[in-house]
Symmetry: C2
Subunit: 211 residues, 2 copies
DNA sequence: GTCTATAGAAGGATAGAC
DNA sequence: GTCTATCCTTCTATAGAC
């Protein structure tokens, strides 16, 4: 009888793939893309090294998937903060930016990998795409703010792009492994000086109002 | 008689290296890192393909050198604008930012390669380093502005980083090859709407004053 | 005569087409 | 999914410097 993939087999494969993804995610979260080894991922996922290449074309493709997975989580968090926070659109935007920065500083290894770690071109392409995704979210909030009247009229797309750039670039240094440990622990209560400085610039740029 | 490298030979080698660098630079300026071919560079430099590997360990190393060369030019231009422009520190800073953006939009292929093109990790590392170089220049200008009294007291390092991020991110879209041609020509007379929008955000973020 | 640098093509890997 | 084509890299023979 000819081989035909059964439902059971399909499920097994999907489970193996899921384990690989989960373990790769953990490896990256622990020490970044560059030190993530395919063999380490395979061992912790309980599969043979070669099996990984049955599920992913290459290491780069696996990394790109991990990148998308991890970044999408952050994008969702930002979207959530923008919709569930109280106050006007400017307040919501500020809360979302603050949350983005604080989450990054609380999980600095993964955040560094997502924001700035030099990886390969495939991951870089994902970065470009996801930066646009953040910008679209911010753009929508700015549009709302202009309608509400709490944000001055401006090119919302342009401003949203500036916000993405400013906050990402601000985190590069503090998240950098060469500087890790030099940083004091993140202060809670909306009172971290680094985060406050970033937000000051962003909100001033957005509203043109001194803070 | 044993062979020993003479001054003449050293000069020949240096010239060959220089030709390789120049031709590689032109290739990148014409169509970016990704489409730059070692063989093409070799032919236009008048050397054999293998010869390139006598001067550079790998394609990535050659590219990293081209990146440094090209980016240093831009850094120098910014430094120059910051020192030779008239007016107070805020004016000089604005002029430098404007010039950076306008130069990028006038040479979009090279600018895209330097700012955002997904290349390899070695080039990415150079990018991180050079972004710091820009930030240091801006930081110095902000410090001057705070002393002059034309810029409010703030964390100059943090703000300079935000400026670098905002302006770089703003240019990613307009410089992107997928969008090239969609853009109207750069308007002169300090009147390009894109550049003005970027500068508005940057200067508002810096000074907290509506413009 | 000995050693180096260069040319040019083979090898090997990867990406793209069908 | 396979096959082709392209392109980076390495290798070897040769020309030329000392």
């Amino acid at each position: 009888m000819a081989y035909r993939e059964t439902e059971k087999m399909r499920q097994r494969k999907a489970e193996a793939r899921q384990r690989i993804v989960t373990c790769a995610y953990q490896c990256v979260a622990e020490s970044g893309f560059r030190s993530a080894r395919i063999t380490t991922i395979a061992v912790s996922a309980g599969v043979a090294t070669g099996t990984i290449y049955r599920h992913f074309e290459s290491k780069e493709d696996l990394f790109a998937e991990i990148f998308r997975l991890a970044t999408q989580r952050e994008v969702d968090k930002v979207a959530q903060a923008l919709t569930t926070t109280g106050g006007n659109a400017a307040n919501r935007l500020e809360a979302a930016l603050r949350q983005f920065a604080e989450r990054a500083l609380r999980g600095p290894v993964m955040a560094w990998s997502l924001i700035a770690e030099p990886v390969d071109p495939k991951v870089e392409e994902e970065r470009l795409a996801y930066r646009k995704a953040y910008a679209r979210l911010f753009e929508q909030a700015i549009d709302e703010g202009m309608n509400e009247g709490c944000i001055p009229e401006q090119d919302a797309r342009q401003t949203s792009t500036c916000l993405v750039g400013a906050i990402a670039e601000s985190l590069v240094g503090p998240l950098s492994p060469t500087q890790a440990g030099d940083q004091p622990d993140l202060k809670d209560d909306n009172n971290d000086p680094l985060v406050n400085a970033i937000l000051r610039f962003c909100m001033q740029g957005l509203t043109g109002t001194r803070r």
